[in-house]
Assembly symmetry: C2
Homo-oligomer: 170 residues x 2
């Protein structure tokens, strides 16, 4: 068995945000997909240790801002390799508060959606949150970041807490 | 709300196969993602009306063969716009039977995995099958098909039964 085959699964990259009251946080995720078209629902898989997980559990809402291909690594890293428990990730970042109260990111992104959680599925280290899409907008027609582009071209890396983390053979 | 924003979600494309005894079937899916890395698990979202759904429910296993970017439209269409109830989709197609009994496709693909279902989640029109990966191999290093490439470059289309079907505005 060669688990590197899992790297052949295609993904986009997203900033998934949520809130608890006036506290807001967000993290990078690559595992989002549409579940049904009628009604429009999406799923995201979030590590149970993450602050965003705690906020989604509390508020039952989340946002997902779709990263554009030109998003710089330091911008992505600001959401991805630190915890909102230790630092205010949103400080100095251009965002608006969406109708669900979740942060929506306006720089280096191409679209966003907001969802209300209708089901959550315990899958061990992670929870899959399934949400009904309640807001969605396209910001521009720039190309989207793919996980493959992030890894191969941008030389980005993946934290151990990600669903798609695999100890790379090389 | 502009539901076309959902088209900005990134996906690969897969031939998802399963079996019921000696009967085998497969279909195109774009909604697969890795759920956890320890143990390695993946999720696929399958329409309840599909024969492959019936087979996965019966056998509790599935395979996913990752399509390469050069896969011709007629090859993809052979799996995607017809039901295995009406025709033997595997006739004339180069495949092997994997360790789970599911078909693994060897032409126009770059990798495959097989999984044993450990959880299934009813999400209305579809079921999300969560499977533990029990086999996985890379076949070659050709680029993977992305859903965006399929739609924009290959001018492929999406059947109404797909999770990502949206009546396109144009």
């Amino acid at each position: 068995m060669n688990l590197n085959a899992l790297h052949k699964i295609g993904y986009g990259m997203y900033i998934v945000g949520s809130h608890q009251g006036e506290k807001r946080n967000a993290q990078i995720a690559n595992t989002m997909f549409q579940i049904t078209s009628e009604p429009p629902t999406v799923a995201v898989s979030i590590n149970k240790n993450n602050l965003t997980h705690e906020y989604i559990k509390a508020s039952h809402v989340f946002s997902a801002s779709v990263l554009g291909q030109t998003a710089p690594l330091p911008f992505i890293g600001g959401f991805g390799f630190k915890s909102g428990r230790d630092t205010d990730k949103l400080k100095g970042v251009n965002y608006k508060v969406g109708q669900t109260g979740s942060p929506i990111f306006l720089d280096n992104t191409v679209a966003y959606l907001e969802a209300e959680v209708i089901q959550d599925v315990d899958v061990g280290t992670h929870t899959i949150f399934i949400g009904k899409v309640v807001a969605a907008e396209i910001l521009n027609e720039n190309p989207c970041m793919t996980y493959e582009y992030y890894y191969q071209v941008k030389r980005g890396t993946t934290p151990k807490s990600a669903p798609s983390y695999i100890a790379r053979e090389k």
